[in-house]
């Protein structure tokens, strides 16, 4: 491997054999194979369907892909290959690796299912073929020392891991599809049964991470497809209309539902993702099972299934509040399930008929394809059969049962729903029981666990269970943590999108110990108001920044859609919502990306204040992009390479650079690079920079840096009093805790001073405290009124100088007066201690006090200096030190006169 890449040997690429077909419209020839001839080495022939290595950023780890199509133009100048990508472990986002739930094997690769990546490469970038082996997801990695073989277990679609259909992987001799559309630029999965499947079920197996009902539907849909193709007997004529419904359920209904679910409960998704590997295992099993069943008779299937279906299943609609939220949608797309239901009531064999009619959904065209590829599938099946050694039979069996149970219990659920609603209570009990018994789940046999799980496996629980299995050797803390994190009901959406958790020193995990006692919930209105007014509480929307939000959103969105890069400079005084707005934009974009409205992107954030040195920016960017650790210099080189290389595939990177001015260096190379990368042709980098001063580019940047930053600027104006008032109102959200006038006073005051929303919220928070304390009876606290707000304002805005002078001792007061007297005498604002001391002695005599000694006078002077009522030179100068006042003379007179 290294030999090829390091030595830069000249390779000659040529087509081997004749063109297989010719596309007239695009004027391209399709080929079956080509040859790489290297000087001194024999020719290497690469066929379609073979796995290859492709040049990339990292010379030691070239990209892995599978050739799906080869073509060249008429005159043989350009040689192109359409490939199906695979991801190496190192290419995955670090923060997503935890979704895997286990340590990735170094030679493990993932089938990449992302749609929006360019899958056309120049043949010249192909290095050599590589051996790729598909493993069952439960199989251990072979311990062979063969470094050149890579293993595929799972697929990756930039969000979750899924299971790879073995047919996708192990059909090397699959003929290049003559029927495939010539528009190769449109990325498509390799033509195989799974492809046609995934046409019906758009996200393929990996997208099984959905609320359970869908899961069931999906499984059934896929079950049905295969069953239909194998059996080929259109059993039910009346089911014709239902087929389309099933199809709908598989594609549109599903996505629509997902949309609803995510829109309403962002928390659900996360939990689902956590549980995904667990589930996808079953999904995979189902698929391989399906392949089995093609050969097996239907009778065996039915024989196997009824017992599990007959299990006494617990009542199934025990829903957590979150799940309840998307229940109605479940009912909406429950068309296919109701079909099963009808069927079930008719016949006792629960699955087979249901399968038959639901699976009519497979379109005729697909059926045709299925037939054509029957041969490879069969060959694979033999292998699958072999793999099911007695050792592993236990798991597939149970999971098979599970899938069956999922189906059957869903049916039951529907039945129950129809029959009576009484079970609601019992279901609630069931869940209560269930949570404490989670430990038992581990020890008890899996079947039992599944019994209890039933169809609506509590997502939390399954996530937990998965964790437990995965981190069986983990310390108790992580267990506890996962437990508690699963338990916490309130999950701020901001946290969810917090991207790219950087890697930390090797073995250490950064964490703060878990508190031993639960936090108390706010008890009364004022406490509730205080919690809502805390700056940290993330509001649902950001009022008063709609225009800015729109501008930034459309800027970033357009860049993402166009696959280009760009810079934007955002300025505004502190506390005007710059960072919050950008985060909000990213949250919305992330959501849009989740819904496939825009291509997915990678968001990283750096903050000039959160690093020790401007050059650390490179380190942090690199770490958040790839998880690598490097020295600043090395990181700069790597990033430079990454952004300037011609990259065959990549997501757009959105980078937020907060506190830009701190990245200033004398040569400004950090800033230069940050703004230069987006201009590179293939970088696809969007840089949003935030700083306080509007004219920062003009002030501190040299021309070439300022020029690259461009003119896309935006400035956040300080909030006006109306806006501040609106912000508070929206945070309070109809909670009646403040008097109208009081709020107006706060917002007017803050708007007049700084327009800093943080200040405004802090004052309101303090006012609630004052209100609470001033009330005689703590339980019946009234509204926060003018007086409370006034007090809070005074506390925060009034300077303490005057009080400090009043509270000073007599000699200190005299010394201040002496200083003023001396300044007046000299006509300067500065005098030495000696000069002031003379005045002080005189004043002492006038006041009838005993004159103090020099040491004592110096002590008085130092005390005043420590409070910064006086400004002093370093004290070792003794009587020679110069004294200046830090307060205006009028203030001193005012303070002393009032005595």
């Amino acid at each position: 491997m290294k030999y090829f890449t390091r030595m830069k040997i000249r390779r000659v690429y040529e087509w081997s054999g004749r063109a297989r077909s010719f596309n007239r419209r695009l004027k391209t020839h399709d080929y079956d194979s080509f040859a790489i001839s290297v000087e001194g080495l024999s020719k290497i022939i690469i066929n379609t369907g073979q796995h290859i290595l492709i040049e990339g950023y990292d010379e030691d780890n070239p990209y892995v892909a599978k050739v799906t199509r080869l073509y060249g133009d008429e005159n043989g100048q350009q040689m192109k290959a359409v490939v199906q990508w695979f991801m190496r472990v190192s290419e995955l986002p670090v923060n997503k690796l935890k979704l895997l739930g286990r340590e990735p094997h170094p030679q493990e690769i993932f089938y990449y299912e992302c749609r929006n990546c360019d899958n056309e490469v120049n043949v010249e970038s192909i290095l050599r073929p590589v051996k790729v082996k598909h493993l069952d997801s439960n199989d251990p990695f072979p311990d062979s020392s063969d470094k050149d073989t890579l293993y595929v277990k799972l697929s990756w679609d930039s969000k979750v891991f899924g299971v790879v259909n073995s047919t996708v992987m192990e059909s090397p001799a699959e003929p290049a599809p003559a029927s495939s559309p010539p528009s190769c630029l449109k990325p498509s999965l390799p033509i195989s049964p799974s492809c046609s499947q995934s046409a019906a079920t758009p996200r393929g197996p990996s997208r099984r991470v959905l609320p359970t009902p869908d899961h069931a539907i999906m499984q059934k849909a896929s079950l049905g497809e295969v069953g239909c193709s194998s059996v080929g007997t259109p059993a039910n004529v009346e089911a014709e209309s239902l087929h389309s419904a099933t199809k709908l359920s598989a594609s549109k209904c599903l996505s629509a539902k997902r949309r609803n679910a995510t829109a309403r409960t962002p928390g659900v998704r996360k939990r689902l993702e956590l549980s995904s590997p667990d589930k996808s295992v079953t999904g995979e099993e189902v698929l391989s099972q399906l392949l089995n069943e093609e050969l097996e008779s239907k009778v065996t299937l039915t024989r196997r299934l009824p017992p599990s279906a007959a299990h006494p299943l617990p009542v199934t609609h025990s829903l957590t509040p979150l799940r309840k939220a998307h229940r109605p949608t479940g009912a909406r797309c429950g068309v296919p399930s109701s079909v099963f239901l009808n069927k079930l009531s008719d016949s006792d064999s629960p699955l087979s008929p249901a399968k038959d009619d639901s699976t009519r959904a497979t379109t005729v065209s697909q059926k045709k394809e299925l037939k054509t590829i029957k041969e490879p599938v069969l060959s694979v099946l033999a292998e699958v059969e072999n793999e099911k050694s007695p050792m592993v039979t236990e798991t597939p069996r149970s999971s098979k049962r599970k899938s069956a149970m999922v189906v059957s219990s869903r049916i039951k659920k529907q039945l129950n729903l129809l029959e009576n609603d009484q079970d609601l209570n019992s279901s609630g009990e069931e869940e209560d029981e269930f949570v404490p018994s989670k430990n038992d789940l581990l020890s008890s046999s899996e079947e039992e666990g599944q019994d209890e799980d039933g169809p609506n496996i509590d997502d939390q629980v399954s996530a937990k269970k998965f964790r437990y299995v995965a981190t069986g050797s983990g310390n108790s803390r992580s267990k506890r943590k996962s437990y508690s994190s699963a338990r916490t009901q309130r999950r701020t959406p901001a946290k969810k999108i917090s991207p790219g958790t950087p890697k930390t020193p090797r073995h250490a995990t950064p964490s703060i110990p878990i508190r031993s006692l639960q936090t108390q919930q706010p008890a009364n209105i004022l406490e509730e108001a205080r919690a809502r007014l805390h700056v940290s509480s993330v509001p649902e929307s950001l009022p008063c920044r709609e225009q800015e939000f729109q501008d930034i959103y459309s800027f970033v969105e357009s860049k993402i859609i166009d696959n280009t890069g760009g810079c934007m400079y955002i300025s505004g005084v502190p506390g005007t919502g710059k960072t919050a707005t950008v985060h909000e934009v990213i949250r919305c974009l992330q959501h849009a990306a989740d819904m496939d409205e825009i291509p997915s992107f990678h968001f990283i954030e750096i903050n000039g204040m959160k690093m020790t040195d401007p050059h650390q920016a490179y380190v942090q960017i690199l770490q958040k992009l790839t998880g690598q650790k490097a020295t600043p210099d090395h990181a700069a080189v790597l990033l430079e390479k990454r952004f300037s290389n011609l990259a065959p595939r990549k997501e757009t990177i959105v980078m937020l650079v907060d506190e830009l001015d701190l990245l200033w260096t004398r040569k400004q190379n950090v800033m230069y690079n940050l703004f230069d990368w987006p201009t590179r042709r293939h970088a696809r980098l969007v840089v949003l920079t935030i700083a306080n001063t509007m004219d920062l580019p003009e002030r501190i940047m040299i021309n070439r840096v300022a020029s690259r930053l461009g003119l896309t600027r935006m400035s956040f104006q300080p909030y006006s009093f109306k806006q501040l008032q609106e912000i508070i109102m929206s945070r309070l959200n109809k909670l009646k805790a403040f008097e109208e006038d009081a709020l107006q006073l706060v917002s007017r005051k803050v708007a007049a001073l700084s327009g800093d929303a943080r200040r405004c919220l802090d004052i309101c928070r303090r006012a609630t405290e004052i209100c609470e304390h001033s009330a005689a009876d703590p339980s019946s606290t009234g509204l926060v009124g003018m007086s409370h707000v006034m007090e809070a304002l005074n506390e925060m805005f009034s300077s303490a100088y005057i009080t400090a002078i009043r509270c000073a001792s007599t000699q200190e007061q005299l010394f201040l007066r002496a200083a003023i007297a001396e300044f007046r005498r000299l006509g300067l604002e500065e005098a030495t201690f000696q000069q002031v001391f003379v005045q002080h002695q005189a004043l002492c005599r006038i006041e009838g006090l005993r004159p103090i000694g020099v040491s004592e006078g110096l002590a008085v002077c130092q005390r005043l200096g420590a409070c910064r009522l006086l400004l002093l030179e370093p004290s070792h100068l003794g009587v020679l030190q110069h004294i200046r006042l830090n307060v205006s003379q009028d203030d001193i007179f005012y303070a002393l006169k009032a005595d």
Partner: protein, 434 residues
Amino acid sequence: MSKRKARDAHLPIGECITQVQQILRERFCERLLPDRPEGVEAQYKHLLELLRRTAIHGESNSVLIVGPRGAGKTMLLQCVLRDLQKEEKVQKNLLQVHLSGLLQTDDRTALKEITRQLHLENVVGDKVFGSFAENLAFLLEALKKGNRSSSCPVLFVLDEFDLFAHHKNQTLLYNLFDVSQSAQAPIAVVGVTCRLDVLELLEKRVKSRFSHRQIHLLSSLNFTQYLERVWTQLSLPDSFPDKKFAQEWNAGVKTLCEDKSVEEVLQRHFNSSKDFRSLHMLLMLCLSRVSVAKPTIKPADLLEASRMCFADATANMLHGLSILELCLVIAIKHLNDVYEGEPFNLQMVHNEFKKFLHRKSNSMYNFEQPVVMKAFEHLQQLELIRPVDGSSAKVQREYQLMRLTLDHSQIMDALQKYPQCPTDVKQWAMSAFG
């Protein structure tokens, strides 16, 4: 009668004195926190509520305690923490990190100290591994992972807060305040400082993130309260083993406080400074004079202690000078009178001294130039004179410009007390012009 004796076991007088010394010393050295902070009840309540909310509700907060030196800032904080720890709910729920601007002079050491005190996972034994940048990233990551409801609140106490503001970029403060204003692990940042203008030191972004809560400890106590305080500080508690001795002692303290001269002395102290630390110094000096032979504090003790407290250190130093050095100081004083505080050099001083010798035509003080130079250098070592800034070493030592760091009144005082001062020298010092 015998019963009573048995109950109030009379300790031998020596034992009693030792007990008294022990109890009062603990008070004066501020080893013992008072049961309730006096005069700052409102501030106490405010701070207690604030920290309790952090501990119990997981609300992040930041606050500054501002007050002059010796006003009881640390005492207040310690009292609050002590009382917080007594509460069951708080006890196990609060991690504390104590930093001092005088110890953690830059963010690097401060971060290491935080990591060490929090026992984060990159700590092995007592050592914190990783570079500065890694440590910062690690700590921030740790705090970011926490959330309000599940992670343990952390209390950061920053003593000498103003010194942290001088760290580069104020990185530590920015990050602490930023965490306290975002939905991360709940933290409370308590800064303790004596600078009234501390907010002006903060950078605008840091300032915006600070909650602007300030607790001012400015004691507005008057002299009667001050006297009261002296009395409570000196009196023995009821739990003292020997009741009879305690009664006598307390009566003695009462008479002491009512004494006119004592009142005068205390008034003078009160005028000079209201802070209790200097009062404690004074009382400590009195206490050390208590012995078996003299089991009460007499007004004379207080007067003596006060005299010691007010003694002028630099004037005392003049007493140890030789006649030649004293003469040079007087010559400098005359030069200062003539030239109105302009700097001088050795040659000028020597000339002035020679003029005096000429007038007296007395060969007694006729010293060679090197001897005078040596004396002059000695004065410089004692920092009674100090070279003017900027006059570098290029200039010969005789011509190096100097300034006197004594006030004239100090010189005259010292001359009065100087043992066996020659009359002519005294007269020379008194006379208006050399």
